[in-house]
């Protein structure tokens, strides 16, 4: 079976300069196609830059914006994941990642978790998405798309894998920080991300594709280090830190089958158990009683998190 060739477009978008970023995406697509890529992955907000603040509204595009549609037309025979500020029909603004395939916008994932703490202020400027779904792709397997912080929540990779994804794609604009010599590669952020991605790949027995931007917006520098992790949790490729580049990585989709036969974690998942207990936890947190099946039976005082029914 022919390997699947992934191109990681570790770009440095220009903040708020949509036309330049569109051109950079087109150039990378052309180069990726010439290099035989099947899937090209661009970073979070690669079309707009990250630290937009009030500029977000000025660079927002609807998912049928002619500029996005024109970019999609350059994906004949290809899959690409690109990210932009989405202006929804009700004018909520989302940080979105679109799957472009064979000339069309096939699927849009809206970032679910918007960090608003520390150096982040996303919830001030954006709405949070409310759908988490894997999607079919022309690659022959379902893929799951997530944006940056989405991967700091366990349910996201788990749900995508249960929904059939065999390739989990995370597009990021991760600011490098916590410089300390004790960390792998000297950067606390990079060390954390590497742990997460290896763990998710192993636990979901899926490929994890991580594309993180480089360059700087205002005071923050993005560290790159894009990666592809195999379904056994082993890193197949790690891009350099801080440098722009288009990196090709070949993967064998048959590795997913082999791993899932040998280590049938997904087969053994208990989503019904998870769901039932989650219902109970939620009910207790809100003071609603439930029976053993998770059905609401009565209302009462909210549990304080220590007590047990």
């Amino acid at each position: 079976m022919k390997p699947l060739r992934i191109a990681l477009a570790q770009l440095a978008p220009r903040l708020g300069v949509l036309d330049d970023n569109l051109a950079a995406h087109r150039r990378a697509l052309t180069e990726a196609r010439a290099g035989g890529a099947d899937l090209v992955v661009f970073p979070e907000l690669g079309l707009t830059g990250y630290q937009l603040q009030d500029l977000a509204a000025e660079v927002a595009m609807t998912s049928d914006d002619p500029r996005l549609v024109a970019l999609a037309t350059e994906t004949a025979g290809l899959s690409a994941v690109v990210s932009f500020v989405e202006d929804a029909p009700d004018h909520r603004l989302f940080i979105s990642a679109a799957l472009l395939e064979d000339g069309e916008v096939r699927f849009v994932h809206r970032k679910l978790f918007l960090p608003t703490y520390g150096l982040f202020d996303e919830r001030r400027f954006f709405a949070a998405g409310d759908r988490l779904r894997a999607t079919d792709s022309r690659l022959g397997v379902r893929v799951g798309i997530a944006v940056c912080e989405d991967f700091w929540h366990l349910a996201v990779p788990e749900t995508l894998a249960l929904d059939g994804a065999q390739i989990l794609i995370n597009v990021s604009s991760s600011p490098g920080r916590d410089l300390a010599a004790i960390h792998e590669v000297g950067l606390g952020t990079a060390a954390s991300w590497r742990n997460l991605m290896r763990t998710y790949a192993q636990l979901t027995t899926s490929f994890v594709v991580f594309c993180n931007r480089v360059g700087m917006d205002e005071t923050i520098s993005f560290w790159g280090g894009s990666e592809v992790i195999g379904p056994s949790g082993e890193a197949l490729f790690t891009a350099p830190l801080f440098d722009e580049g288009l990196h090709f990585v070949d993967i064998e989709l048959t590795d997913v089958r082999r791993e899932r036969i040998g280590l049938p974690l997904l087969r053994d998942e208990r989503p019904e158990l998870h769901l039932r207990e989650l219902r109970r936890v939620l009910a207790e947190r809100t003071g609603v009683g439930v029976d053993a099946d998770g059905e609401v039976t009565s209302t009462g005082e909210p549990a304080d998190g220590r007590g047990q029914v």
């Binding site: 603040q53 000297g186 950067l187 205002e218």
Partner: protein, 313 residues
């Protein structure tokens, strides 16, 4: 990485000197950083700040101390020595050693330099030899503090003037330690277009300075604002930098409370004193507040990136 104070460095630039000599500097282990990554980020930051503003050149006030020496090295790496102007701005009582050390940096980097003696500016205001200046009789008896602040602002005026003739942006040279305790002059030495080292504690400045090749004499000497003869930071503050840096790091970066800090061995009075210094200097670290009146107010609900399409000159 392992190692106690005085044995940091992931890059072979450990601060050991020849056997028998004092270590080059003391580095608390928890403050040790990967100097390659730090250098990479700071050099990229300088380039990016200049490019986004439409400038290719930068300038800075070179005092002969470690902070401005490090920024000079970083700036030379970022834009090349030809695009860096170091301005030496001694006052007549500044130590001759400071000027010598500054010249060593200029020679080492091969960058442009200027010397502007600020004595006539400062004396023109405060007066000299019993003759009053523009500030009148009262200013003749001005305190060290007033004179020091005025000197820092005279240097700021000079740098911002040279910024026009040189066609470059002023690079800041203040470190995180002095910023947090407020050991700087507002609109004086803290004034700049951007600051590459403002998130590095003094101990970390020393670590990066050693790695990037700042002359050893500059790393070794006692830090001083050199605003009056014999002044040193540590004598004035009553702390050594490694102690102060560690305390600030655990207090601020690692969010440790008073009891936890005390349990770590920091002394109560120091904790109280440093907390007060940090709180009382909050105003120096922020843009002056504007009374909210209109629908959209800068810094409150008009929030744009400093650099955006159309912002380059």
């Amino acid at each position: 990485m392992s190692g106690g104070p005085g044995s940091p460095g992931t890059d072979g630039a450990a601060p050991q000197a020849d056997p028998g000599e004092e270590p080059l500097f003391e580095l608390p282990p928890e403050l040790a950083i990967d100097t390659d990554v730090a250098r990479r980020v700071m050099v990229g930051f300088i380039r990016n700040q200049l490019r986004q503003a439409g400038f290719g050149r930068t300038l800075l006030g070179l005092s002969g101390g470690i902070d401005s020496a490090l920024v000079a090295f970083l700036a030379a790496e970022a834009v090349g020595p030809d695009n860096l102007l170091c301005v030496l701005m001694p006052y007549r009582t500044s130590s001759a050693e400071s000027v010598e050390d500054a010249r060593t940096v200029v020679d080492r980097l091969g960058c442009a330099s200027d010397v502007v003696d600020i004595s006539p500016i400062v004396d023109g205001y405060f007066g000299a030899d019993g003759r009053p200046g523009a500030g009148g009789h009262e200013a003749l008896d001005a305190s060290h503090l007033r004179r020091g602040n005025f000197m820092a602002r005279a240097r700021m005026c000079t740098l911002y003037d040279r910024s026009v003739s040189w066609g470059g942006l002023v690079a800041g040279t203040g470190n995180k330690t002095e910023s947090l305790i407020g050991y700087s002059t507002l609109f004086g030495d803290s004034a700049c277009a951007f600051n590459p080292i403002g998130d590095l504690y003094k101990s970390q400045v020393r670590q990066v300075a050693a790695a990037i090749g700042v002359p050893e004499a500059i790393i070794r000497k006692a830090p001083s604002a050199d605003l009056w003869p014999g002044q040193t930071d540590e004598a004035e503050a009553g702390f050594t930098y490694p102690e102060l840096d560690r305390l600030l790091f655990w207090m601020i970066d690692k969010r440790r409370g008073d009891d936890e800090l005390a349990a770590m061995g920091f002394r109560g009075p120091s904790i109280e004193r440093v907390k007060r210094l940090v709180a009382v200097s909050e105003f120096k670290r922020q843009v002056p507040p504007v009374a909210k009146l209109g629908p959209r107010t800068t810094g409150v609900d008009y929030l744009y990136p400093r650099r955006r399409p159309g912002s380059a000159r």
